[in-house]
């Protein structure tokens, strides 16, 4: 374990934590459901990827690191799909997107 790898993995994990934090703030602050999906769909994907890559670098070159990379690939494929699934269901059920100028009627079903 070289110190360069440790520093690199620390940077990656801290970046991941930063994007997790902004995604959480986004979930709490955005005005309606679809804009909140912007926060979860994008923010969590990049944050998870960064954290997993950081942990894989910390683990070093082994089969466990490869499994962590598998999780990363799976999340990169699954997270946008899950976002798409929720938003599709919401649109078909009849949740209206919030437009600028409306007052906040955040009463989605």
């Amino acid at each position: 374990m070289t110190s360069a790898a440790v520093i690199l993995s620390t940077i990656f994990i801290l970046g991941g934590i930063f994007f997790f934090t902004t995604a959480t703030i986004g979930i709490l602050r955005f005005p309606d459901f679809f804009t909140r999906l912007h926060a979860t769909g994008k923010g969590d994907t990049l944050a998870v990827l960064l954290c997993l890559i950081g942990l894989a670098i910390y683990e070093g070159f082994s089969l466990t690191a490869l499994k962590i990379v598998f999780i990363a690939v799976f999340m990169a494929l699954a997270q946008p799909t899950a976002t798409h699934a929720i938003s599709k269901a919401a649109l078909r059920v009849g949740v209206q997107p919030w437009m600028k100028g409306e007052k906040e009627n955040d009463s989605s079903i």
Partner: protein, 274 residues
């Protein structure tokens, strides 16, 4: 006497003039007829030229058809000769089974990490069982194309996508941290020219991951995109990302085997007519 001579001469000259006028009129008339004839001839010439052009175009079309088919003949011979003779179903099913089995076995080895005889045997058995159950799932609706080229182009596409994801996240982070939150959400809809479903998946997930947009719904080939900003509409309608995805999966800028076969059928029909 002189007067009568003068009158006669005048009469003569008048007659001559009259004749000349008549002749000139006749000349003019004939000239007009000639003019007409010339114009008709010109029209004929033009139509002849058009016919010539059409003939040349037809020849060029025929030539190009010959060129395309002679190109595709080779691919036909290499790849599809057997497929289009009735054994397509079983053979492609078996190939799918083999490819799925090898992918799954590699995946098993990477998961297991144990290389003794016992675990490898279990791995082979499990891979065979799963590949038998799901060989029609992994490679359903795959168009015939050059797989290696697609994989290489996809790998080249990934860094651009990562750059876009990072941009998107910085944008979302700025929005979430800014006190006034300047957003103007609206819903866009656009049609896509992509065809295969794997390219649709790539396009929809790329739209979700790139700045300011998420794919909400796909209904009858129409993408419903939720955008945080007005500017993004132009980007999507310009279709840069769509072009990239089309380039990866060799759509809209490449001749497919199926298309080539269609052209070959048309060519055979043409040969019958000619």
């Amino acid at each position: 006497m002189e007067v009568t001579l003068l009158i006669q001469a005048t009469d003569d000259s008048f007659r001559i003039l009259e004749d000349a006028r008549n002749q000139a009129k006749g000349l003019l008339d004939s000239a007009r007829i000639l003019e007409d004839a010339r114009e008709q001839a010109k029209g004929l010439l033009d139509s002849a030229r058009i016919l010539e052009d059409a003939r040349e175009q037809a020849k060029g079309l025929l030539d190009s058809t010959v060129g395309v088919t002679s190109e595709t003949r080779q691919m036909e011979k290499q790849k599809i000769q057997t497929i289009f003779q009735g054994v397509q179903e079983t053979k492609s099913g078996f190939q799918n089974f083999i490819v799925t089995f090898s992918l799954l076995f590699v995946f098993w080895i990477l998961l297991s990490g144990k290389f003794d005889m016992f675990h490898l045997t279990i791995g082979v058995i499990c891979s065979i069982v799963v590949a038998h159950l799901t060989h029609d799932l992994l490679f359903a609706n795959v168009r015939v194309g050059d797989t290696m080229v697609i994989v290489r182009r996809f790998i080249i596409y990934i860094p651009w996508l990562i750059y876009q994801i990072i941009r998107a996240n910085i944008y979302v982070a700025c929005l979430a941290l800014s006190p006034k939150m300047p957003i103007d959400p609206h819903v866009l809809r656009f049609r896509t020219k992509l065809e295969s479903d794997i390219s649709w998946v790539t396009l929809a997930n790329s739209i979700t991951l790139t700045p300011r947009t998420i794919t909400m719904d796909i209904k009858d080939g129409e993408f419903f995109v939720h955008a945080l900003d007005k500017r993004v509409a132009d980007d999507l309608h310009a279709g840069e990302m769509e072009d990239r995805v089309a380039h990866i999966f060799m759509e809209a800028d490449h001749i497919y085997i199926q298309d080539a076969l269609d052209v070959a059928r048309i060519y055979v029909e043409l040969r019958k007519w000619v």
